[in-house]
């Protein structure tokens, strides 16, 4: 098994210590930091995403994999100069106004980070104006809106209204959210789970 494969395998099994050691070993062997990210950490998280979507692993396993990925990032990140950093793009995420739930949104953030995106997490109970301000500040390509409640889904509609005119694509998700609702409120994409959020983000970036 190559060191990259070892890193990926340790991300998949959620072994943070092993990821850290293997990332250090890869550096010692002369691997490029960005290659460790792409071929080790991201490769591992991709597998986790697929397994999560297929109900082969569950929330706890995803969380420890994300933690392991971060342990590897901590090793590699200081060595990446700004010019080296090849994020796939910037995505802004937040739970919409009136809604303070965040585990779903956090899983999406972890999966997007695990797929190589730079993610700005605004947190919970984010009003449409706050999303707009953050879009101006961070210039993301995609904005991800989360809601757990049927009652707060309407904030998604007002947020999308508010973001009209900005050059961003909006994707939405959360327990009660459906493709039909996404179409109704003019969202660019709907993701049914955290792993699908990565696929949808990839599609939006390519479109």
């Amino acid at each position: 098994m190559s060191t990259f494969e070892e890193i990926a395998a340790a991300v998949i099994s959620g072994n943070a210590k092993k990821v850290k050691e293997s990332a250090e070993q890869a550096l010692a062997e002369g691997a490029a930091p960005q290659a460790i990210v792409n071929e080790g950490l991201i490769a591992g998280m991709n597998v986790v995403g697929v397994k999560f979507k297929n109900n082969e692993v569950y929330v706890p396993e995803v969380l420890i994999s994300a933690r392991a990925m971060h342990a590897g990032m901590d090793v590699v990140k200081p060595l990446l100069s700004d010019a080296d950093v090849q994020d796939k793009g910037t995505i802004l995420v937040g739970t919409v106004k009136g809604d303070l739930h965040d585990i779903g949104k956090n899983l999406v953030r972890m999966m997007l980070e695990g797929a190589g995106y730079k993610v700005i997490d605004l947190g919970v109970d984010i009003a449409p104006d706050k999303f707009a301000q953050a879009v101006e500040e961070h210039k993301p390509q995609v904005v991800g809106l989360s809601a757990l409640l049927t009652t707060t889904m309407s904030s998604m509609r007002s947020t999308i209204e508010r973001l009209k005119g900005y050059p961003v694509k909006v994707m939405i998700g959360g327990a009660p959210v459906t493709q039909k609702f996404a179409d109704e409120i003019g969202a660019d994409a709907y993701a049914s789970d955290a792993a699908s959020a990565v696929e949808k983000a990839d599609q939006l970036m390519a479109s």
Binding site: G14, N55, V57, Y58, V59, P60, E61, L63, I64, R67, K97, G98, L100, H101, I103, N106, V124, D125, L149, T150, T151, T152, S154, S155, A175, P176, T178, S192, D193
Partner: protein
């Protein structure tokens, strides 16, 4: 047939005279203040005040005249707060906040808020099982919780002849792990700090059993159902793997549910868990669950006909009457009627069904849809 007999018959998997109906008997089968206000206004009770029973979910105590009007067969029994704690709402800028008896801090936006949500988890920083002993755990045996409740429940049972459901005082023993540690810590604990997870669950289970031991002594002759609330499912599948469930949750469920049944023979164990968790339903039956709620039939592998066919002999489905994520909140009264009718057709045969929505009726549900639902249950609920 009175309400008690009707529910009992359903629980014994025998067909009663009509499908029993629950509204507000449990902390997960009720109606929120905003939706209730709309309903009262719509029915012409414009000056009637409402009383919030469950602050976190903003659930109301449904008035007797409403329960009576729609032929609701259940009544809620709630313990009182302990002597050391009282609900105190604080002004926290754009939020209302309060701290519960577990020291969990809850906040709700003042504007457009629907729920209190947890913003501070008291055991988030704990790293080892030993540290759990330093925590000021609630006293489940505080006499204030049950003072006078036995007589009150007896009166309520006598005056309504209904099925009484014991709620509270807090979430299920497993759910509390997430509340005390924070969900992300908690889910990871089970894999990377299993000893902490085990010890924490031992503690929350011990508290639950001590409370129920005393509560059932007082209430066993008047209640029919004990409500246990856990979260095992998500919109797409189980939250934790069946393996983790079997390691951490199931043995303790077995211990708790057999304790309940030993303490109060004839009382039924009601388990609430939203979402999809088909994979562990046989385990839940094995652990002693009698009643499954809320039967979120729109999620994968949880379709009502399939569940009824496979588990209908062993479980009473309490819920699954109408979808709340779409139909009840966004559908038309006609769509509500159609769905309620269909769900009754699927779930009612042979008993083992108590009509309820899939979780509490939320603030955005129009009164017309609630009425359409209740009228349809009345119209099509006869056996």
């Amino acid at each position: 047939m009175n309400s008690y007999e009707r529910v009992l018959s359903a629980l014994q998997h025998k067909e009663p005279d009509r499908v029993p109906l629950d509204l507000g008997g449990g902390c997960v089968t009720g109606i929120t203040g905003k939706a209730y206000r709309h309903l009262l206004d719509y029915l012409g009770y414009k000056d009637t005040g409402i009383s919030v029973q469950d602050q976190v979910q903003q659930l109301v105590r449904v008035d007797e005249f409403i329960l009576d009007r729609f032929g609701v067969d259940t009544r809620a029994v709630w313990p009182q707060p302990p002597s050391t704690w009282n609900f105190e709402r604080k002004d926290d800028g754009q939020y209302w906040s309060f701290t519960d008896e577990w020291e969990i801090v809850w906040k709700m936006p003042k504007e457009d808020g629907f729920y209190y949500d947890m913003r501070k988890h008291p055991l988030a920083e704990v790293e080892s099982a030993e540290q759990l002993t330093d925590f000021a755990w609630p006293n489940p045996l505080d006499p204030a919780r049950l003072r006078g409740l036995g007589a009150k429940a007896k009166d309520l049972q006598h005056s309504t002849q209904a099925c009484l459901m014991l709620n509270g005082p807090s979430a299920g023993f497993f759910e509390l792990g997430g509340w005390l540690r924070g969900y992300e810590n908690w889910y990871m604990d089970m894999l990377i700090n299993p000893l902490l997870a085990e010890k924490l669950l031992d503690k929350t289970l011990e508290i639950r059993m001590k409370f129920l031991g005393k509560a059932l002594d007082e209430l066993k002759d008047s209640i029919l159902v004990v409500v246990e609330t856990e979260d095992l499912g998500s919109q797409t599948g189980p939250l934790i793997s069946p393996q983790l469930y079997r390691k951490f949750v199931k043995p303790r469920q077995k211990e708790l549910y057999s304790f309940i049944k030993k303490k109060a023979p004839g009382v039924y164990v009601f388990l609430h868990s939203c979402g999809s968790y088909y994979e562990i339903i046989p385990d839940l039956i094995d652990a002693g669950v009698d009643i499954l709620n809320p039967v979120q039939f729109t999620t994968p592998k949880m379709d009502a006909a399939g569940l009824k066919k496979e588990f209908g002999k062993d479980l009473t489905f309490w819920g699954g009457g109408v979808d709340t994520q779409y139909t009840l909140s966004r559908g038309t009264p006609e769509q509500v009627r159609d769905e309620v009718k269909r769900q009754i057709e699927v779930l009612a045969p042979g008993g083992g069904f108590v009509f309820n929505t899939v979780h509490n009726i939320q603030a955005d549900v129009p009164a017309e849809n609630i009425i359409a639902m209740l009228e349809t249950v009345k119209e099509y609920g006869a056996y």
